[in-house]
């Protein structure tokens, strides 16, 4: 099977920061807004390079979303930055009315998503954001897997007309996406080809899926790993093509099983090609304080859990 090399672990939020820095140089319409988390979001360089295009809003996320919506009127492309929790649930109605329903070209950039935010605990570890954002008509929802992909996605969303939710995280994770890989919104990336099971993963769990595929390979099971960086619009063609071949699927995400990637995949399958599916996701629970990797282990969001679900779902094939 095809294997991937970690070229050096980095945090996905730094990929966002690097992308934003590049956009600052290449696209004069890009503006950035932050709610008192400039360092955490890695927006410092953009701020230093373009003080006239950087807006410190203070701890007032509702106001930030409204200002961003207003800024689009006159051609600016606002990128808002705060933690995923404060980017979504806290400002759902502002996003719904002023951004999504109004069709505004705002890029909601959300760091520290999921359990891997770590020690701050459940108040900050949102596991419901993908669900909230994907339910909004017209919203594009992206969850990137590593530094390089996050940087590429940041560049890509600036070219996309319409609201985008771009979700990334805090910890350093394996960086394996080729630096020059173009990011195509809504286009899945098939990482390994296999015949026995399809593993559809997003965000931090993509690397875990690749690790699981290695484990499975040693047992003689060939897994097809698909990186779904865009949860909406979902690349149904890629999913169906793979599942028609493997006849079963495991989805993996750092999110509640309710409202996440897994449910979107299940809908696609039930409408087009029903197949057994297992979900690697949190089980309708809040998180807790702890080290990121220990949390992923405790909540069953790792390579081991993915491999176990893969073996289980293969047994369910008719």
């Amino acid at each position: 099977m095809k294997t991937y090399k970690n070229t050096g672990s980095k945090d996905t939020r730094s990929g966002f920061g690097a992308g934003l820095t590049e956009l600052g140089k290449t696209n004069p319409n890009v503006v950035a807004l932050c709610a008192d988390l400039t360092g955490s979001l890695k927006m410092d360089e953009f701020k230093t390079n373009h003080p006239e295009r950087f807006f410190q809003i203070g701890i007032a996320e509702a106001n930030m979303i409204g200002i961003a919506a207003g800024m689009t009127i006159g051609g600016k492309i606002p990128f808002t930055g705060t933690f995923a929790n404060f980017s979504t649930g806290r400002v759902y109605d502002q996003i719904r009315q002023s951004v999504a329903y109004s069709g505004k070209n705002v890029k909601i950039c959300a760091s520290h998503a999921g359990l891997t935010l770590g020690e701050d605990g459940a108040t900050h570890q949102i596991l419901e954001d993908i669900g909230m954002m994907k339910m909004l008509p017209g919203m594009t929802v992206i969850n990137t897997c590593d530094y390089n992909q996050t940087k590429a996605a940041t560049l890509a969303v600036a070219e996309h007309q319409g609201p985008v939710y771009l979700r990334f995280g805090r910890p350093k994770v394996a960086n394996f996406t080729p630096e020059d890989q173009k990011f195509e919104i809504g286009k899945a990336v098939t990482l390994t080809e296999g015949n026995d099971v399809t593993i559809i993963a997003t965000g931090h769990l993509v690397w875990e899926a690749l690790e699981a595929a290695k484990e499975l390979d040693e047992k003689g099971i060939s897994a097809e790993v698909i990186n779904i960086h865009t949860i909406k619009p979902l690349d149904e063609t890629a999913i169906l093509k793979s599942v028609r071949k493997t006849k079963c699927v495991v989805t993996a995400e750092e999110h509640n099983f309710l409202g996440g990637l897994g449910e979107s995949v299940a809908r696609t399958l039930s409408l087009n090609h029903p197949a057994p599916q297992e979900f690697v996701a949190t089980q309708d629970t809040f998180g807790e304080s702890g080290e990121p990797l220990m949390l992923l282990d405790k909540y069953g969001l790792n390579a081991k859990a993915i491999a176990e679900k893969a073996e289980a779902v293969i047994l369910r094939k008719e």
Partner: protein, 281 residues
């Protein structure tokens, strides 16, 4: 015809439009709409520079945002009669397949609308954002906004008020429809707003008080004064005293007509108090 006479005729026709729109579908918000008929008329007929060849970006023109979107009947009437879309389209208000939704939206592409509003408290932030973009684009035109007084109970306003004052956003003119009434009764009974002038001043805003908010000349004078105060590193707010239901005797002095449509008989009485001027749709 004098300018004042033209404005008054315009206001009377707008009142008729408001009443007929809400009556036809037996829903909508006539009270606040009637209270702001003079303000909208002066803003669109006298004060703002704009093109009716609508373009969302609105570069090199003044912009207006309605934050208290439920007074859409007055907004629609004034937009139509200012040339943004055919007046006859007022006939479709709140009906299926209409561009004139219950609350204003960009979603159906109605010319003149630049943001959806209805869920309260969001318009000031949007106005600030548009004002920032005007500065970045070196566009010296202004951004106007209107907010209900009861709407100031929404916390997002105070985030925006703090921001605009602290950051010296000086190309916006916000107006508060200070009718002191909301759905459940007097604002003083629901949740008193206290001394709004002092509150805005404490947040570093320049405050103008407009006691005759249903007088076209007084509105014009105050809006011109407000324009003169922009560009001074300070946002400007007008506290505009209005009468909910203004121009229809049985709708005035009460909050009862905030969100209630007149019946056939009541409509007839109300229209008789406001004879046709520019022609009904």
């Amino acid at each position: 015809m004098s300018t004042t006479q033209h404005l008054q005729d315009f206001v009377t026709q707008v009142r008729r439009d408001i009443l007929r729109q809400v009556h036809q579908v037996n829903s909508g918000h006539p009270g606040g709409s009637l209270g702001c008929a003079e303000f909208f008329t002066v803003l669109y007929q006298e004060v703002m520079e704009y093109s009716t060849d609508f373009d969302m970006d609105g570069k090199n023109e003044d912009l207006f945002f309605l934050s208290n979107g439920h007074i859409s009947p007055v907004f629609y009437s004034v937009l139509a009669r200012s040339g943004f879309f055919p007046v006859v389209e007022l006939n479709t208000f709140r009906k299926i397949d209409s561009r004139l939704q219950g609350h204003p939206t960009t979603h159906e592409g109605l010319p003149g609308i630049r943001i959806a509003s209805g869920s309260l408290g969001q318009g000031m932030s949007v106005a600030i954002g548009a004002a920032h973009t005007k500065k970045m684009n070196k566009d010296t035109h202004l951004v106007y906004s209107l907010h209900g007084d009861g709407e100031l109970q929404e916390g997002q306003n105070w985030e925006a008020i703090l921001y605009a004052g602290s950051k010296g956003v000086d190309n916006i003119i916000a107006t508060i429809d200070y009718n002191k009434k909301q759905i459940d009764g007097a604002t003083d009974d629901v949740l008193p707003l206290g001394d709004l002038k002092k509150k805005f001043e404490a947040f570093d805003w320049k405050v103008l008080e407009l006691k005759e908010g249903n007088d076209v000349e007084a509105i014009k004078k105050t809006l011109e004064e407000a324009k003169g105060l922009t560009g001074n590193k300070q946002p400007v707010v007008i506290l505009m005293d209005t009468e909910m239901g203004n121009g229809v005797d049985f709708m005035m002095g009460t909050h009862a007509w905030h969100g209630k449509a007149p019946n056939d008989e009541q409509l007839e009485t109300a229209l008789a108090q406001n004879p046709e001027t520019l022609g009904d749709y």
